[in-house]
Amino acid sequence: MSQKRVKKPSNTAIDYSEIEDSVKECVRFIVCREGSKIPIKRSEIIKHLSTVCETPSNHTNAVIIEANKVLKRVYGFKLVQVKAKSGIQYIVVLNEECESLPSTVSDSQERRLLVATLLHIFMTAAPVKEEDMYKFLIEAGLLEDNDLASRKLLTTTFTRQMYLQYSKVGEGDLARYVFQWGERASEEVPKLFLLNKMAEAFEKTPDHWYEQYKEATEETRQNTNTS
């Protein structure tokens, strides 16, 4: 599909020198904008490029493709297109797994909350009901009984960053809100990595959790196949 696109005359006709400035600006925009982890809307990129470089909108595809190449070569980043109701969005993740240094800017309490949430969902191997999640987090000492701000982190911040997916299931009286892994989590966190952490913590082998191990190795296998 994507190969067909490249063969289209409209794309091959664009000379790289013509869009070079736009590509640079696009890379700069993405690097600056990524810090918040809120997905970057394609429309935002188009708007930025058209105001700063006056890039015509029919060049956008070519510019983003080239910018992705630069991001990969220089920073080791990768643009991932995610589906959203409000048009095409992108998130930025590392192209390859890498042991990053712990961040000095992000809040450590927040990070523990996120790790515990993702871990619990993964280990449960099913969507986790909102109340069950809070119960677990309180038990883990990460959440106070009446800490609405932290609950909001889960339902709003992490959800917007696409680490979590917070959705309603069922109708009427049976309606429940559940947490699942969001797309960013699936891209950034290999399941086997989490399972190895579990194994390390409880001094077991990863295949002690048979079902999760199966899922994690399946994911790893698929990734090596595609890349």
């Binding site: 904008r33 809120i38 930025v92 800017v105 790790v115 191997a125 677990f136 990595f193 048979y210």
Partner: protein, 286 residues
């Protein structure tokens, strides 16, 4: 499974024979499921469908039918038996797989070793921070505008037209002075029965400003026609005469000439010495 089509057909009531056939088909399906290695969840779903089907078959027949054909009841129980065997197997598989995760233990571990559970994700882009904390990487959040404070304006008083325009004009300071000048001139004219010398009237040796004011007031009177300024034939100097009401009415503008009076400090002093004026002739209450 072709059961759905069958159900619809048999709604139009077919005999016990058909029902038996379909029970057998269900049994066959279930025995196939036993060897199936597909996903646990899928198998459970399939079994549930089979049980539902059996239930609807049973309802179709009714009690009397069942008494007449005991073979049906036998087959029904076999289907249920097979289904429940499968259910036991599935639930064993489920509990064997998932129950190794003990969330209480994990929660306890997290509580006791919070540091262990704090790490960057392998494919996470390290967050970029700006040295001076400028450039928020996201578009600034929209702050709600503070609600406009409603200023209670003082109600404008009802507009009123001036009651009497004429009287209002008289209140003006300038016109009050003008009428005083007129009064002075007419009184003086009545007492002496001769025109007043223009320069003696307006010049005030103690104040140049007063002099200018006097000239100004007199010129208004001339414009209104209350007084006339005429050149004396003998001296060639201007003299003031009051003009009576009747004369004013008969006034003919075509006969009149206009002139501009100008005065400066030097001329004022020259005139005072020329006419040897030592005190003002016209002293008005101000």
């Amino acid at each position: 499974m072709s059961s759905i089509n069958n159900t619809q057909l048999s709604r139009s009531s077919l005999g016990s024979h058909d029902r038996k056939l379909r029970y057998r088909a269900l049994l066959e399906d279930l025995s196939v499921l036993e060897d199936d290695t597909a996903n646990n969840m899928e198998l459970i779903d399939k079994t549930a469908i089979a049980v539902k089907e059996a239930k609807s078959l049973l309802a179709e027949g009714g009690v009397e039918e069942r008494v007449r054909h005991p073979g049906e009841g036998y087959l029904d129980s076999r289907v249920l038996r097979a289904a429940s065997d499968l259910a036991v197997r599935y639930s064993e598989a489920v509990s064997g797989n998932v129950h190794t995760y003990d969330k209480q233990m994990l929660a306890q571990h997290i509580r006791e070793n919070p540091q262990f559970w704090e790490f960057p994700f392998p494919q996470e882009v390290p967050p970029i921070a700006f040295l001076f904390g400028t450039f928020a990487p996201t578009p600034a959040e929209r702050r709600p505008r503070p609600a406009r404070v409603h200023v209670e304006r003082q109600q404008a008083a009802e507009q009123r037209a001036p009651e009497n325009v004429e009287r209002l004009e008289k209140v003006e300071e300038g016109s009050a002075m003008v009428s005083r000048v007129l009064k002075f001139i007419s009184r003086w004219y009545k007492q002496h029965q001769k025109p007043l010398s223009y320069f003696h009237t307006v010049l005030d040796p103690s104040s140049f400003g007063r002099t200018v004011e006097n000239i100004y007031h007199v010129s208004f009177l001339v414009r209104d026609g209350s007084i006339a300024v005429e050149l004396d034939h003998v001296h060639g100097l201007p003299f003031i005469t009051p003009v009576s009401k009747s004369q004013q009415e008969a006034r003919d503008i075509a006969d009149e000439k206009q002139f501009i009076v100008s005065i400066d400090m030097k001329r004022w002093q020259d005139l005072i010495t020329a006419f040897s004026i030592d005190k003002p002739m016209m002293v008005l209450r101000r």
